[in-house]
């Protein structure tokens, strides 16, 4: 359960003052899968960082699980846009995935099993003993995803998590995230630039306007819960929704 009320965020420093988020209000009910799209630099990452308790809002309020966020809330996982830098270069892939579990005090064997499972799910069973900097960009990004999944969060924030992987892997990962979401009832906020992906994945797509950011459109995706790369994407309703989002994006982009 996420609530954002009149969020306003200004960055100020080093001779630059930017209103990253103008006035943002929306809420994501428990267990919903919401996708966020919006032009580059509109404040999506900023929003996620505020929700994760990593950045104080300039004004407005943010609640996760009904608690105002002042520090990183428990049970919340983030996949950062800067996936490469979010992996610990001194830990091997497996250790990177296990570290948050270790912090929770999980037994060694349990977290070993969870990590192995998560790495297998993202197709990286082979690479568990490598250091992150020995991996390709897409592989690093998948390690970050595996870490979030293995953590079994109640709330999952993902910032363009599939930007660096190829089309086929991307499709697989999309289905993986949906199945994780369905299985554990996670509340999911998913930032993406791919409109098809947003419509395919979510129950709802939130379109943000360009800076100063507000909600330009809040669209419910009324596609059936059972989705499938081939049939869903060729669904007429899918094409229609996707067209709506596309039109909206072009509208918000125009004035900037």
């Amino acid at each position: 359960m996420l609530e954002v009320k009149n969020l306003h965020k200004v960055y100020d420093g080093h001779g630059r003052r930017v209103t990253a988020v103008g006035d943002l209000t929306f809420s994501v009910p428990e267990g919903q899968f919401a996708c966020v799209v919006g032009p580059s630099g509109c404040g999506k990452t900023t929003l996620l960082r505020v929700l994760a308790g990593l950045l104080p809002a300039t004004s407005g309020e943010v609640l996760v699980q009904r608690t105002p966020v002042t520090a990183p809330p428990p049970g919340l996982a983030v996949v950062f846009q800067e996936y490469g830098r979010s992996l610990f270069p001194w830990l091997r892939v497996r250790e990177n995935v296990e570290l948050p579990l270790k912090a929770q005090g999980m037994a060694r064997s349990d977290r070993g099993a969870l990590a192995a499972e998560a790495l297998a799910a993202v197709g990286l069973s082979d690479a568990h003993g490598a250091y992150p900097w020995q991996l390709s960009g897409g592989m690093q990004q998948r390690v970050a995803i595996a870490r979030a999944i293995a953590y079994q969060p109640r709330v999952l924030l993902m910032d363009e998590p599939f930007a660096a992987v190829d089309a086929q892997t991307r499709a697989d990962l999309e289905d993986l995230v949906r199945s994780v979401w369905q299985r554990f009832g996670v509340t999911l906020l998913f930032v993406t630039h791919d409109i098809d992906e947003a419509v395919y994945l979510g129950q709802r797509v939130i379109v943000l306007s360009a800076s100063p950011t507000t909600v330009a459109q809040d669209l419910t995706i009324d596609l059936p819960a059972e989705r499938d790369q081939l049939t869903t994407r060729s669904d007429a309703r899918f094409t229609e929704l996707r067209g709506q989002v596309y039109a909206q994006i072009q509208k918000v982009k125009a004035p900037a």
Partner: protein, 257 residues
């Protein structure tokens, strides 16, 4: 072949320098600058096994203890100061104040506090070589990647786990720089501490030679200090290689042609 060239690289310059010294100083009349050959004679004559047991080993022991304490203290304190801005504000002026104290004037205070035994000498070593470790740790901790810090915070990685896996690891390249700086400093301080109030040790012996006008013997002691420096730095490099494997791997990549 690779080994041969590495060994050549390692000893090439020293050999050239020693040869220059040897021939340059041959037949020297200068009382304080004797020829290298007479220094070598003195070296063989002076540094017998007995001498090692009586003078060198006690020194090395104090050196080791002092160095280990200094590194541990520097890392612990540095982690604390680097993490909390207010601790840094509170302690930095005092530390800077203490840091400027010359060991020779410090020895008296150390004697007052802890007598004239090994403890004083170890105290002087710790006090003198904790600074590079401390400063580097502080800077290393302060300069860590923010995305990594954020990752830790959002995954609830806190406490000792955060300390071990983020704070210290992220700072470890710089901590190692500090530890490396501290190593020769420790040797220097070992000597200084033994020059002020001691009955044995390498520094004491060198000073005795100097006061007793045994100049070739004195230089042979200085040579020995240099050799100890080389040996310790080789040991250090071994330790560093295993601790910072990830770092050198990441930095060097596969670039070298």
């Amino acid at each position: 072949m690779r080994l041969v060239s590495r060994v050549l690289l390692l000893i090439g310059l020293p050999v050239v320098l020693l040869a220059t010294w040897w021939f340059g100083s041959a037949g020297s009349e200068d009382f304080y600058r004797p020829s290298l050959s007479s220094i070598m004679d003195a070296f063989v004559r002076t540094w017998t096994w007995d001498m090692f047991v009586q003078q060198v080993f006690p020194s090395l022991w104090r050196l080791l203890v002092g160095y280990v304490i200094a590194v541990a203290l520097g890392v612990a304190l540095g982690g604390l100061i680097g993490t909390y801005r207010s601790v840094r504000s509170l302690l930095e002026p005092v530390l800077e104040f203490l840091r400027a104290f010359p060991p020779p004037v410090l020895v008296p205070a150390a004697i007052l506090l802890s007598g004239i035994g090994d403890r004083t000498k170890i105290l002087v070593i710790v006090f003198g070589c904790v600074w590079p470790v401390l400063l580097n740790t502080i800077e290393g901790v302060r300069g860590r990647d923010e995305v990594l810090s954020d990752t830790c915070r959002s995954y609830g990685i806190t406490g000792t786990l955060r300390l071990r896996h983020l704070v210290l690891r992220a700072a470890s390249p710089q901590i190692m720089t500090g530890a490396r700086q501290a190593l020769p400093l420790a040797i220097i301080l070992m000597v200084i501490s033994e020059m002020m109030a001691a009955n044995d040790g390498l520094g004491f012996t060198v000073l005795q030679f100097q006061r007793g006008f045994q100049i070739p013997e004195m230089w042979s002691g200085v040579l020995l200090l240099g050799v100890i420096g080389i040996v310790l730095s080789l040991l250090f490099r071994l330790a560093e290689r295993s601790l910072l494997g990830w770092y050198h791997g990441q930095r060097a990549g596969q670039r070298e042609w």
